[in-house]
């Protein structure tokens, strides 16, 4: 058989699995050095995965959020930082897909993302505002057909490596903090002056340094919808779902290591029950809850996509917030349990059972839009929103 003519499997899963293999090879090095996972991102680009969510008539593959979530889970099992970069990029793309298909400039931009496999960054966090993405201090200045923006962006993941940044601001200099817009700036339309260094416990490869952003571009690059709508209808849901999908991937990989460890022990001493076996069963149950929660959330989102009223309803926002809260909290005990099972082999770096990276990466989940802040928002809505009391709705 002539292998050179064998066509590689082009299913999404196969493409992501090939990316994951490359991401896995560099994951420890990326984590240790806190460097950009260039090899994994190059692999994403050569598998042409950057534009898959974009509609076919704008040059993409029109893939669903569920399909993209699955890719996040696959890649996170190899390198959570690479998966997070992919997820954040796709969250930005979802804003363009949901709110830019009727705008000429943004349609052309989507074509360009597909053709050139561009990587999009995000700047919502701002000095003085923290993680409250529905408030801005900085304001965009529109002057004729040009716009200008300066922002103290305290966290921009892979800021130096992005090909464009989608950035929030107030809509004009007299606007209240909640009246926001989002603007797409291309790399040659802004400068970044580094203000913070990303030397963190986990998610080190996301290189989420802080920058003073200064940009100038044609005003048509401002997305033609208030950011309030973009946040409610695409960003919050896709963030919570894609983040949860990759956090699940971290926990699943920790479980897989623990299971391999227990099976090896069982093979060495047939006829006895190896330690850790019962804990494994408990972890399996917890993982099933996390997985079901994310899958139900994805189903809920995809149903709501055809109904803008439902997308911007409180019931939907509460449901998406709850997916994030539960997945970000529930993965930690699973990883912790895996660490107990693998013992010193899990605690040590550089063994097949090392779990340090999993544990540290997973701890970002509760902070990434602080769970306290999200619970605060949900609790406000519960003053009027009624809890679902039935099982089937």
């Amino acid at each position: 058989m002539d292998l050179s003519t064998k066509v590689a499997d082009q299913s999404l899963k196969a493409r992501a699995t090939r990316v994951a293999a490359i991401a896995a090879a560099y994951a420890d090095e990326v984590d240790k050095a806190g460097r950009f996972p260039a090899e994994a991102i190059d692999a994403l680009k050569s598998e042409r995965l950057m534009g898959i969510q974009i509609p076919v008539d704008c040059g993409g593959e029109g893939r669903s959020t569920s399909e993209i979530a699955e890719l996040c889970t696959i890649i996170a099992q190899a390198c959570a930082a690479s998966a997070m970069i992919f997820a954040m990029h796709q969250i930005k793309v979802s804003s363009l897909v949901s709110h830019g298909v009727d705008a000429g400039w943004h349609r052309t931009f989507m074509q360009k993302i597909c053709n050139e496999q561009l990587l999009l960054g995000s700047a919502t966090t701002e000095g003085g505002i923290g993680g409250n993405l529905r408030n801005s201090i900085c304001a965009i200045e529109v002057d004729g057909d040009r716009c200008r923006l300066e922002k103290d962006a305290t966290v921009i993941s892979y800021g130096k490596h992005a090909d464009a940044i989608l950035i929030t601001s107030r809509s004009h200099k007299d606007a209240p903090p909640t009246d926001q817009v989002m603007t797409a700036f291309l790399k040659d339309q802004y400068t970044l002056e580094q203000t913070h260094v990303w030397d963190t416990l986990g998610m080190r490869g996301t290189c989420s340094d802080g920058f003073l952003f200064k940009g100038e571009a044609p005003a048509e690059q401002i997305l033609p919808k208030p950011f309030a709508e973009i946040a409610a209808q695409s960003m919050l849901a896709s963030s919570h779902l894609l983040w949860s999908a990759l956090w699940y991937g971290i926990a699943v990989d920790a479980f897989t290591k623990a299971q391999t460890f227990v099976r090896a022990a069982a093979r060495k001493a047939p006829g006895t029950t190896p330690p850790g076996l019962v804990q494994l069963a408990e972890m399996s149950s917890q993982l099933q809850v996390i997985r079901s929660n994310i899958k139900a959330g994805l189903g809920n989102y995809e149903q709501a996509l055809s109904d803008p009223d439902r997308l911007s309803s409180m019931g939907f926002a509460v449901a998406m917030n709850n997916v994030k809260i539960a997945s970000s909290e529930m993965i930690l005990p699973v990883i912790h349990q895996a660490l107990r099972i693998c013992g010193i082999m899990g605690y040590k770096n550089g063994t097949p059972f090392s779990l340090g990276r999993h544990l540290r990466d997973a701890h970002s989940a509760e902070l990434m839009i602080s769970n306290d802040r999200i619970l605060g928002n949900t609790s406000t809505m519960l003053l009027v929103h009624k809890q679902e009391t039935g099982l089937l709705g």
Binding site: M314, L383, V384, H385
Partner: protein, 83 residues
């Protein structure tokens, strides 16, 4: 009803501008209504008109402007009369 809504908005809306400078159709979120304040406003309306917002009307559209609120409240009060 319009006056009652405006009074509640002035009391609970936490807006940076005076309510009488806002037109009936102006986007309330753009003039600074936060989501926390919009919930407080809903509670105020429920108390004043002795009714409850059904979940399907708890969305941005129902509270986007003074006239949207008026329409929303009116539809709830009318549904109640029919029931």
């Amino acid at each position: 009803m319009n006056e009652t809504i405006r009074t509640l908005l002035a009391k609970l809306g936490g807006l940076p501008v005076a309510v009488d400078t806002i037109t009936d159709s102006a986007d309330l979120y753009a003039v600074g209504l936060s989501s926390f304040a919009s919930v407080q406003l809903m509670l105020g309306l429920e108390e004043t008109f002795d009714m409850e917002f059904p979940d399907h009307l708890l969305n941005r559209k129902s509270f986007a402007s003074i006239s949207a609120i008026e329409t929303t409240v009116q539809s709830i009060l009318e549904d109640r009369k029919v029931a």
